[in-house]
């Protein structure tokens, strides 16, 4: 049977989330998991992921192996020579992990509620007046490492080599941005994009292309904080702008 393209697969963050959902939906008693059934459903899910060409993370595969191992252990008769410790239900570890995982999911929800409540109050909104010099930021260790990495990544000195002029057009650059963003909804780092085009002309063309895309609302540039990295993301007009022929027209305007 061919999979219709409209079929949507649930997205689980990890194997434990998937297992919990299977258990919950079927109202299974977690202390008596029908392993054969759950393993089969778990494998079915991975199989569907495969059919949809979704990359399966290693964590999911590892859990599949664990489930199969537990299942096989349950089929064996109990070892009469094993100590009472070893005669434990082979599912025990898994149940413990699931419960532990669920526990922290609940804790996360509690935190979220606390945070929403806290957001409704204000404290010292004018702290800026007491802050240090303008342009100074409160820094943490994380900022320190981040900055060091950026410093190291900086091109040391302009190389004294003659560089052949590259003939990039704005349309080609827009194409490149489209290719980068098309595949997923993940943002792309502007810094990363700039590094691909280290020459002056490359950067100028890239900049023009981005201005154009932002103006057309095909792309949106986001920054989470002052000095924070700029990220590019698909915007609402993305598909319209990248309909065939639009890019060529734009390029003609830049010639």
């Amino acid at each position: 049977m061919e999979t219709p393209p409209s079929v949507q697969l649930d997205v689980y963050e990890g194997p434990l989330d998937l297992l919990l959902d299977l258990i919950r939906k079927q109202q299974i008693d977690i202390f008596d998991i029908p392993l054969a059934r759950i393993t089969q459903q778990y494998l079915d899910y991975l199989h569907r992921m495969e059919q949809l060409n979704v990359e399966i993370a290693g964590d999911f595969i590892l859990m599949a192996a664990t489930l199969i191992y537990i299942k096989s252990k349950m089929l064996l008769p109990p070892d009469p020579f094993a100590s009472p410790d070893e005669q434990l239900d082979p599912r025990t570890d898994l149940v413990e992990r699931l419960l532990e995982h669920k526990k922290f999911k609940s804790a996360a929800q509690m935190l979220q509620q606390k945070q929403i409540l806290e957001q409704a109050t204000w404290s010292r909104p004018d702290t800026a007046a007491f802050a240090g010099e303008p342009g100074e930021l409160v820094v943490t260790l994380w900022d320190l490492v981040k900055v060091f990495r950026e410093v190291l990544a900086r091109p040391p000195e302009p190389p004294a080599l003659e560089i052949k002029r590259e003939e990039f057009t704005v349309a080609q650059m827009m194409d490149e941005v489209r290719e980068l963003l098309r595949a997923s909804d993940q943002p792309v780092s502007l810094l990363e994009l700039c590094r691909r085009h280290p020459t002056r002309r490359g950067l100028i063309v890239l900049f023009l292309a981005l201005l154009e895309l932002v103006r057309l609302e095909a792309v949106v540039a986001l920054q989470n904080e002052l000095f924070g990295p700029v990220q590019l993301r698909k915007h609402r007009m993305f598909d319209v702008v990248f309909a065939p022929d639009t890019a060529t027209e734009i390029d003609e305007q830049y010639q």
Binding site: E13, P15, F104, F130
Partner: protein
């Protein structure tokens, strides 16, 4: 100094303090006031600030005292705050990672992974970036992995006096057992929005 004057002075100091101010800091500034007097006046001040005709109350947060507007004025107040702190938007994975760190701190990446079942690196980077989590040295074991703990900003953003104020894990354990242990007809609806929406999509998958 009489009680009224002490209360007034405490209010003034808490008002100007940039960060939640601790008892220890107050004791240091008010060296000539006895600890009992100080605590008494502070209690009275907190109590008075909770009165219905007061719009700014003093609360205990992140190990100190700080002024806050009351939640019930949220709507009207929001229109006057120009420099709003950017709202803290955390993804569910980031929140879950934060929860693990909050309860197990100090904790390493592999330990977080064991609980969550997925690599927490991306969520961890977000939390470090937002200053909710900081590094806390290295664990003395093979590989000397970095330890993480929650930062003061975490307590402030979540309105907590200290991490001890969080509900105990046993309470969540009961919750987990209740929602997964016995087959339940309707799992707590409102509390799990992420899951609810997922469920709809999941149905065709089981067919």
């Amino acid at each position: 100094m009489d009680r009224a004057a002490l209360k007034a002075l405490l209010e003034a100091i808490i008002y100007v303090s940039e960060e939640p101010i601790t008892i220890a800091q107050l004791e240091k500034v008010l060296a000539d006031v006895s600890k009992d007097e100080l605590r008494g006046a502070l209690e009275a001040l907190l109590e008075a600030s909770r009165a219905p005709e007061r719009g700014v109350e003093i609360r205990q947060v992140a190990g100190g005292y700080r002024m806050y507007t009351k939640p019930e004025h949220h709507e009207a107040v929001r229109r006057f705050v120009r420099s709003q702190k950017p709202p803290l938007r955390l993804s569910l994975p980031a929140l879950e990672t934060l929860a693990v760190i909050a309860y197990k701190q100090p904790v390493t990446t592999p330990e977080i992974k064991a609980v969550r079942g997925v690599d927490p690196s991306s969520a961890l980077a977000t939390l470090l970036e937002k200053g909710l989590v900081v590094t806390a040295g290295r664990k003395q074991c093979i590989g000397r992995p970095i330890l993480y703990r929650t930062a003061k900003e975490f307590l402030i953003r979540f309105g907590l006096k200290d991490v001890g104020e969080l509900p105990t894990l046993e309470e969540f354990e009961e919750l987990a057992r209740a929602s997964l242990g016995e087959p339940e007809p309707a799992p707590a609806a409102g509390s799990e929005p992420a899951r609810e929406s997922r469920e709809e999509a999941a149905e065709p998958g089981n067919a």
